[in-house]
Structures are given as C-alpha cells and as structure tokens.
Amino acid sequence: MQAIVKKLFSLILTVLVISFLTFIIFSIIPGNAALAKLGVDASPEQIAAMEEKLQLNDPVIIRYGRWLFGALRGDFGESLQYSGVTVGELLGSRLPVTMVLAGISFLLIVLLSVPVALFCVKFRDRLPDRILTVLGQVMMAVPAFFLGILITYIFGLLLRAFRPGAYEGLSLRYLFFPALSIAIPKIAMTVRFLKSSVRGELSQDYVRTARAHGASEDQVLKNHVLRNALIPVITFLALVIGEILAGSIVAEQVFSVPGLGRLLITSISARDYPVVQAIVMYITTVVVSLDFLVDLLYRLVDPRLRRGG
C-alpha cells in the first residue's frame, strides 16, 4: 500500500515537472503568439498591443504560476491563436477523435499481432515465417507519413474505400484507415516481441512435458505457451499506447483528422502555449498513468512484488 502511495506521488510530480519544462522550453524558443497571429502586415505598434493583450510580456514564472493556478482548478485558459475560443472547447471537440483513433489502433494491434506471431512460431524458420519477418522489418522501417500517404493513395484514390479528408463526426469507417497506418509498424514490433517471448517459453520444461503428454503443436502453443508468453507483452503494449499517441500526430496530419495531434502541431507553430500545455499534460498523464497501472497489474500477477513492496 505504501508503495502504491509513493508511486502515485511520483506520478503527480512527473506531470508537474513536465508541465514546467514545456512551459520553459516554449518561452525560450524564438517567436511568440502575437507575431504568429499578425504576420508581416502588422506594424510594430500593433504587435506590441497584441503582446500586451495576450499577456506575453510578463516574466515566465508569473505566467507559469498563473497557468498552474488555473489548471489546478480545471481552467486551461483561452487559446491565443483563435480569438475567443477556450482551450477546454478546443480540446473537448478533439479529444474524443484521438481517443477513438487510438482505441481502433490498439484493437488492431492486439487482434492482429497475436495470431500472426503464433503463425510465425508455428512455421518458424520456414518460408511463411521468413516472408513475414522481412515484411515486418520493412513495415518498421517505413516512415509513418509515407505509410499514411500509401494507404491514402491505395484505399482512398484507387479503391475509393474512403474519401480522403471527408471526415465528419467520429466516423469509424474513416478512422479505420489512419488507425491502420498507426497500427502497422506497431504490429510488426509487437509480433517480433511476442515471437521471441514465445520462443523463449518453448524451451521451458513444461513445454516438453506437455508434448510428452501427446499435446499437438497447436494445443501446446495456444493452451500452454501463449498465456505465459503474454505477461511481458502486456508491459510492452502499455508502452505501445504511448507510441500510438505519438503516431496519431502524424496520421491525423496525413489523413486530415481533426484530433489532438493535428491541433498540437498547429498550436506549436502558432506559439499557442495554453493549448500546447494542455495537450502535453494530457499525453503525459495518459502515459504516466499507464505505467502506474501496469505496475499495479504486475503486483496482482506476481505475488513476490506484492510482498517486496
């Protein structure tokens, strides 16, 4: 119990430190929201007035304090790039999109990587395994945006399975394609990881015993090996969720999906720090909490850790 409280405390601390760091980094890089908003047509006087209006002239610490004070009460302020729009409103419409997108990606990863990995192990060192291994390596090496463009081209323009850019209101059919582009490299990674995990288990004594009892290769894999091999994979999948969020930044851009990732990119170039802060906070919280959950899960699975804590 004490260990859990300790862990929870470090979780909150991590989020705070990251929020501070992003804030500092953002105030160091050149350019500010007033400049980004007004462009080359504004006079220096207008730029100065806008800086004043957006409260960009206060020292970083004061601005951070103001932000933190608001954030603790759930008020993330107003967007700087879009006049009169609150960060809450912006994120509110974008968050569900990214969550659904990440959900579909995760499902695809889990549903596809397990059978593919088992298939590979069954045919290990034979042609199907080799083909899939090479294919997996190619998929891991392909840059995310290129995979996105390829999928758009094949499914969008040639097969007309969806209309690129015609995304309206949480369409699952549309989101399937960006999710696919996020999932494919992750599937390749998970398959590889699962394969080595399964092969590690295969050399265990209990496998030999199972075989000796006359279990078929399929039965051995499904009933005995998979369950044991999955434990390290769960940790791995938790990490993959963080990667999915990173992948959705690219996918949302290529597929023109109005999610958090696209908002993050436009907000960074517009130096819209309240929005950037809020999104970074969201991503940090998700990743850190997952880490925490996996830790809890481990304690449940492995009694040794429970006692040791």
Partner: protein
C-alpha cells in the same frame, strides 16, 4: 539472407507492377490536348462548394490586422464603405456613392439605399460610427489612419463626411474597413454586409458560410453554401482535391498541375493568375558586404530570374525589377524590370571592384514551410556559386522567421513574398529610412524625399510619377533582388466556374457558380 533478399525483390516487383498499372490506366484517360482555355458556361443557382486552404484562419475579426489568407476569406463576409474590385479599382459598397473634393481633404459618402446586414437589420450611421471607431482603436494611435483623420461627421441621415488633416488621395483605400453592427463583437457573432454569412466556425477545421439573402448586388451570390476547409499539409490538401473532398485549391505547383492534367484531365479546370506578391530575395542593406551597392548589384546580375520562373512556375510568372506588382498598372514602372539582365561576367566585375574577387559567404534564411521560397533559395544558391558567392541556406520555422528576420532584422538575405493593398504606399513606404517595417534596412535620401512627395501629391498622375521614380531608385540601388510576381495556379472542380483573380488578397466566392446542367 539471399532468400530474404529475393523475397524483398519479388515484393518490390509486385508493388511496382501495381503502381505502373495505375499509371498506364491514367494515360488512357488523357485526351492528349489541353482542355480548351475557357468556354462560355451557363451559371445556375444553388450548390455547395468546398474551398481548401493550407493556411489557418487567424480571426474572424475584420478590424484586427491579420495575414493574407485570413483576409482572403473574410473578404466574403464583410464590406467597407468601398471595396476593391477585380480590376484593382475601389467600388462603392456600403456607400452607394462618394465624392472627394478637389483638395483631397473631404470625403463624402452616401449610404446605400436599403442596405442590410446579414441578419436583416438595416445599416445606419450609428453602425458606421461604431465600425470607424473600432477600426481606429485596433489600428493604434500612431497609425496612418488615425493620424490623417481630423473629423468624422454626419451632415444628414444618409451622409458620412470624413475630413482629413492633410490632403491624401490614397486615403480612400483605408475606407475598405469592415462595417459591422453597432456594439457587435465579431469574435462572438460575426455579421457584415458581404455576400456570405457565417453559419458555423470550428477553429482549426472549417468555416461554413451560407448565402446572404439581403445582399445588395443583384443575382449574386450563386452558391447556397460554401465551406472554407483548413488542411495544414499541402500534399494532403492535394490528395483531398483529387478525391473530390475539396473543390478549389490555390497555389498549386507546376508538378501538381501536370499530375492533375494527366490523371484527371477534364475533372478539373486550372485557372491561371498571379499571387500579387513581390517575390524577391530581400537583402539586409546593412549586413557586411551587402552594404556595398556594387555587391547588391552583382547579386542582381548573377540571379537568373527567368530560370527561376521557368523552373518553378512553368514560365507563367511576371518578371519584375522593383517592389511593385504589375497588377496595379497605375503605379507600376515597367522599365524597372530591365535594369538588370542575367550577366555573370558583369557580376564578377562588380564583385572585384568591391573587393570581393574571391566572393564571400552568404546566408539565406527561408521559412521552411513554404516550398516555393525554399526552392527559389536553392536555385539562387546554385546561380550565385558561379560568381564565387558561397551560400548557406538556413531553413527556419515561420514564427522564428517572423521574430528573427522580420522583427529582429537579424539576417543577411531571405526569400519571401510581400503583398499589399491597393494604395501604392502600402507596398513602398516600407523602404523609408525610419519606416517601422523597413526589414531591408534601406536608407536613401532621394527615396525618402520622393516618398514624402508621393504621399502629399493629390493628382494621380503626379503621384504615380513619384512612385515610379521610387521603383527605379530601388532597382538602381539594388535594394533587393526582385524576381517575379509568381503565377498562381488554381485548380477548380470542373462543375464550377467563375473564379476571379483580384490584385489584392481576396478569394471571392460570390462570383463562383455551379455550371448549369452539371
């Protein structure tokens, strides 16, 4: 290992077969001839158009100073007492008629009979006064607008009189500021008198407009609804155009135009115009070797503008030699374009005279998001290497460019395009020694004197002669390396027609219509 290589090769072969198969499919559709340039089409009423834009909308507030992309869009929502026409004149809009007295100090406007806002409310003088004050406040105390107005008065219910402190014949173009209802906050509820009204705005995604049923121009607009859709990535936007998700897209590259013609010959019409920009390699006139006029002239001789034009714009841009677009013929000095010809030897001689026989190092800072500027910088770098100038291209983020180059003036050379309003001072005043926007750090006594005279002149012809002399001054002193007014290739779904180019920033959707029978 060998086996996996073979598998990889086989996979590659299959993939390329699939891809080339598609390419030859496309060829069959190609008609061989370019589509006829323009055939008369019959307009119909109604329909929905999606206009793609790769620049995000900054604000729906017309009085806030914003970028060109935003102004191009809100052009459809708001109007001023006068508004720009596609031929570059100012035409009466909210005002029905106007008169300027001989001296150029008194502007009298008669309100348009029965003109209404998009919400059906009639426009009154109170609205004019409110808009005037709001615009003045946003422009700032030291702005030209506030400084030049002496008094705003309303002699009767239908008349607006603006008196100036000094005669200024360019002042009319300031009166394009948007007229909005008294007490209205456009950020919360954007209302104007333009052809389209806002129905929904999703920040960072789209702006939905619908027809203003009270619009004062007869028979316009044609379309019922228009969506301006923001797509941050240029390639994604092009894909969406091909897929039919968006109907119009500006600023296509020549490669994209070719690709469209090949793959979908008659699905799109390509409309050619100009971007109304002074596209140039701007020089910091106080940076090292560039402070020597001979060095700057050498750069002008060493840059082959035609090569840039043919390489990036299929030769469709208009070559210029000073800071003015040919789209404004009243003020444009054509002679400036031929002050320099591409001449490597002359460039070398000038460099030698200036003491840079072995050339020098030059950094060109360009905003990385704009491929047009990056590509131009690369071509220039290549050309300058022939005269011994060693160029480093520094790509920076747009916001960094704004803060370091534009505001901080901390650069040597940069490739960018400047736009401007209909009044020539908006283009040329930035070269005045003390001008706040003088990013070039240009300082020339003769130029300052001419600028002062030009601003004071009332007679258009006299005024134009000063501005033309100023353009020659910039060219002869090689204030920057002026290149072109770039060609703007606009692709539009061929079921629509009526795209009109403006010499100012405007995407006028009120004249676009769906072709009858399509």
């Amino acid at each position: 290992m060998k086996r996996s290589l073979a598998i990889l090769l086989a996979f590659g072969l299959i993939l390329s077969a699939v891809l080339t198969g598609c390419a030859s499919d496309g060829k069959k559709e190609e008609t061989g001839e370019d589509a006829p340039k323009h055939t008369e089409t019959e307009p119909s009423y109604g329909g929905h158009l999606v206009y793609g834009m790769t620049q995000d909308l900054v604000s729906l507030d017309p009085h806030e100073s914003t970028d060109a992309g935003t102004r191009s869009v809100v052009f459809n929502i708001y109007e001023g007492l006068v508004k720009p026409s596609s031929s570059g004149d100012l035409i009466a809009a909210v005002a029905e008629d106007y008169q300027i007295d001989q001296a150029g100090t008194e502007y009298v406007f008669t309100l348009r009979e029965g003109i209404k806002f998009q919400n059906g409310q009639e426009v009154t003088l109170k609205d004019i006064e409110y808009s005037f004050n709001r615009y003045a406040e946003f422009s700032g105390e030291n702005s030209a607008f506030v400084k030049s107005v002496k008094e705003l008065s309303f002699p009767d219910e239908k008349t607006v009189r603006i008196t100036l402190t000094n005669p200024d014949s360019e002042f009319l173009s300031e009166l394009t500021f948007a007229i909005i209802p008294d007490g209205n906050d456009p950020n919360e509820n954007p209302i104007g008198t333009g052809p389209y009204m806002v129905t929904e705005y999703k920040a960072g995604q789209y702006l939905d407009l619908s027809k203003n049923q009270y619009y004062w121009v007869e028979k316009e607009p044609y379309l019922d609804t228009v969506r301006f859709k923001f797509i941050s990535d240029v390639n994604t936007a092009f894909t969406e155009l091909q897929a039919g998700t968006i109907d119009v897209l500006n600023y296509l590259t020549t490669a994209q135009v070719e690709a469209l013609k090949k793959s979908a010959g008659d699905e799109f019409r390509i409309v050619e115009g100009n971007m109304n920009l002074v596209h140039a390699m701007y020089l910091n006139n106080q940076a090292g070797p560039l402070s020597d006029v001979r060095v700057r002239q050498a750069l002008c001789y060493a840059v082959d503008r035609d090569a840039i034009n043919s390489f990036l714009f299929a030769g469709k841009s208009i070559i210029i030699g000073s800071h003015m677009t040919p789209q404004l013929p009243t003020w444009y000095e054509p002679a400036a374009a031929s002050v320099y010809t591409y001449d490597v030897q002359k460039a070398k001689d000038l460099l030698e005279q200036a003491g840079y026989k072995d050339g020098f190092d030059l950094t060109i800072t360009v905003p990385s998001a704009y491929s047009q500027h990056v590509d131009t910088a690369q071509i220039i770098a290549d050309q300058l290497s022939l005269v011994g100038i060693r160029v480093t291209i520094k790509q920076v983020e747009w916001t960094v460019w704004l803060s370091d180059v534009y505001k901080g003036r901390d650069y040597e050379a940069t490739v960018i395009g400047f736009d401007g309003k209909l009044n020539p001072s908006d283009w040329m005043a930035k070269y005045g020694t003390d001008a706040p926007k003088n990013m070039m750090n240009y300082s020339n006594a003769e130029y300052d004197e001419l600028l002062e005279k030009a601003l004071k002149a009332v007679d258009t012809e006299e005024k134009a002669s000063y501005y033309k002399q100023m353009q020659m001054n910039l060219a002869e002193n090689a204030a920057s390396v002026y290149i072109e007014d770039p060609a703007d290739f606009v692709a539009m779904n061929s079921q629509f027609d009526g795209y009109v180019f403006y010499p100012t920033t405007a995407w006028d959707v009120s004249k676009i219509y769906q072709i009858s029978g399509k």
